[in-house]
């Protein structure tokens, strides 16, 4: 039963799942600190892909030389999103407002709105077409991994996910900025009175999270070769589902859940038409919420 076609579908599913995971890392990081969903994260991912395209076509750079440009674009996008969609809602600094659901929901909508504006703007600039990364710049060299054929790009996605995941855990658990981030996410008011500048920590979080999002867009565009202004939308929704299934505040949980969703989609494609596999993530979400209402990997005390 476990023939190479099945294995291939599952492997493709896993690599698609890693894409979700990659996007979910930055998305979950921002949620962890602010308890606020940043729906504009998908557009940062799209911007990362477009920056890569510009780098390899207009600037004729080799694929990996796009990294600095992508980092700068991600950084600028992250700081911009924080400034426009989040900072205005932190101007009420009394405790009730800081903890208020209404303020958090307001940022959910403001980031969604900003994401839509960004998506429409990119749609105008690139006319909503699917644009292609030139073949010779793509990471599409085949790699044989124990009988399963993968492309170099898929391996790059897996590798980058792992590096970012480990790097981020190190940043959060082993550095002072990480401790400040954890303190702010644990108790905003307590952190303030321990001398932590909340705005600085929030900016640092958006910077890191958005750079990760843009890098994800870069690797995915180099692996699959096609770019479109709405490409961030489905991915950010899957990342959101992965975050919820993973337990909302657990970054490793979101990564595992992202891969799980991808594999489940791959498995589903064995039985149903591929258009239906889009439903898989949401079905999984419903089942998780019914049977594990706190997600699969909720951290203690969170």
């Amino acid at each position: 039963m476990f023939d190479s076609f099945v294995a291939g579908q599952l492997a493709i599913g896993a690599s698609v799942g890693l894409t979700y995971a990659l996007v979910a890392i930055g998305f979950t990081l921002i949620y962890r600190v602010l308890s606020a969903v940043n729906f504009a994260h998908g557009e940062v991912y799209t911007l990362g892909a477009f920056a890569t395209l510009v780098a390899v076509t207009t600037l004729k750079a080799p694929p990996l030389a796009a990294v600095p440009l992508v980092i700068v674009v991600g950084l600028a996008a992250g700081l911009g999103i924080e400034r426009v969609a989040f900072r205005p809602f932190r101007r009420f600094t009394d405790e009730a407002s800081l903890k208020s659901r209404a303020v958090r929901e307001a940022t959910l909508l403001s980031s969604l709105a900003l994401g839509i504006v960004g998506r429409e703007a990119m749609d105008q600039v690139w006319h909503g077409q699917w644009l292609a990364i030139p073949q010779d710049k793509m990471l599409n060299q085949p790699v044989n991994l124990g009988g399963v054929m993968l492309s170099a790009g898929e391996l790059a996605i897996a590798g980058l996910s792992l590096v970012l995941l480990v790097g981020l855990q190190w940043l959060l658990l082993r550095t002072r900025v990480g401790l400040e981030i954890r303190a702010v996410s644990s108790n905003l008011v307590g952190a303030q009175f321990s001398g932590i500048d909340i705005n600085r920590v929030v900016l640092a979080t958006f910077a890191v999270g958005s750079i990760l999002g843009a890098l994800a867009g870069m690797v995915v565009s180099l692996a699959y070769g096609s770019i479109q202004s709405s490409m961030g939308l489905t991915v950010v929704l899957k990342a959101f589902v992965a975050m919820v299934i993973g337990g909302l505040t657990s970054i490793p949980g979101a990564v595992v859940a992202g891969v799980l969703i991808g594999v489940a989609e791959g498995a589903a494609s064995l039985w149903v038409a591929s258009a239906w596999t889009e439903m898989v993530a949401y079905v999984l979400l419903i089942f998780t919420l019914i049977f594990f209402p706190r997600g699969l990997f909720r951290r203690r005390g969170a």
Partner: protein
Amino acid sequence: MSSLLEIDRLSRHFHGLRAVDEVSFGVNRGELVGLIGPNGAGKTTVFNCIAGTLAPTLGELRFDGARITGFAPERVAALGIARTFQNLRVFPDITVYDNVSVGAIGRAGVSFAGALLPFLERGRTRRIADSTSTALERFGLAAHAGTLAGNLSYGQKKLLEIARALALEPKLLLLDEPAAGLNGNETEALAVLVRDLRDAGLTILLVEHDMPMVMRVCDRIVVLDSGRLIADGAPAQVRADAAVRAAYLGDDS
């Protein structure tokens, strides 16, 4: 003795309600001052104005000779005023050690390079580790260093919050009802601890409902009633004050 903290005609209004009305008093260096008054007297509002949670409507606050009126909390903390809360503000999902470390970082400051690559700044890193360990020892929390703060008992959380505040190495410590919710033994231990801190030279402003404790540990007591200062003096003096008796101590004194 010189004044470390000066409160000058401080007022804070909430939609016309004068929660604090032209209150003036000072806290001298090395002094342990109690701030008392019946519920709603404005004690916590005064605290919040000093710590930067609330901006005063009128009046001025001076700390160590410099104006701090309306400063943001993290700025006030960086200048050397640490506070604890009546309802706790520990970080429940990080370890006891890291909770205290956060305070120590607030004191040591973070440079960008040092934040990401701690080994670049060994001296500062060691100082943070040292002041964290010292604070943990002092509060008998060293054995729980690796525990998540959320799993501590209520009394231990109270101590942890004071430990975190002290790791900031403040010049002035603001304690907001530290004895609330503690049992007799814990309150006793707390009184000894607060007195020890004062004897070690720390300046403390204490809001507390536990009268025997306040009377016993404080050098001086400031009494508020309905937002106004009605007495300021030594414990015995305040205890004998007719206005204070009428407003607050009432029947049980």
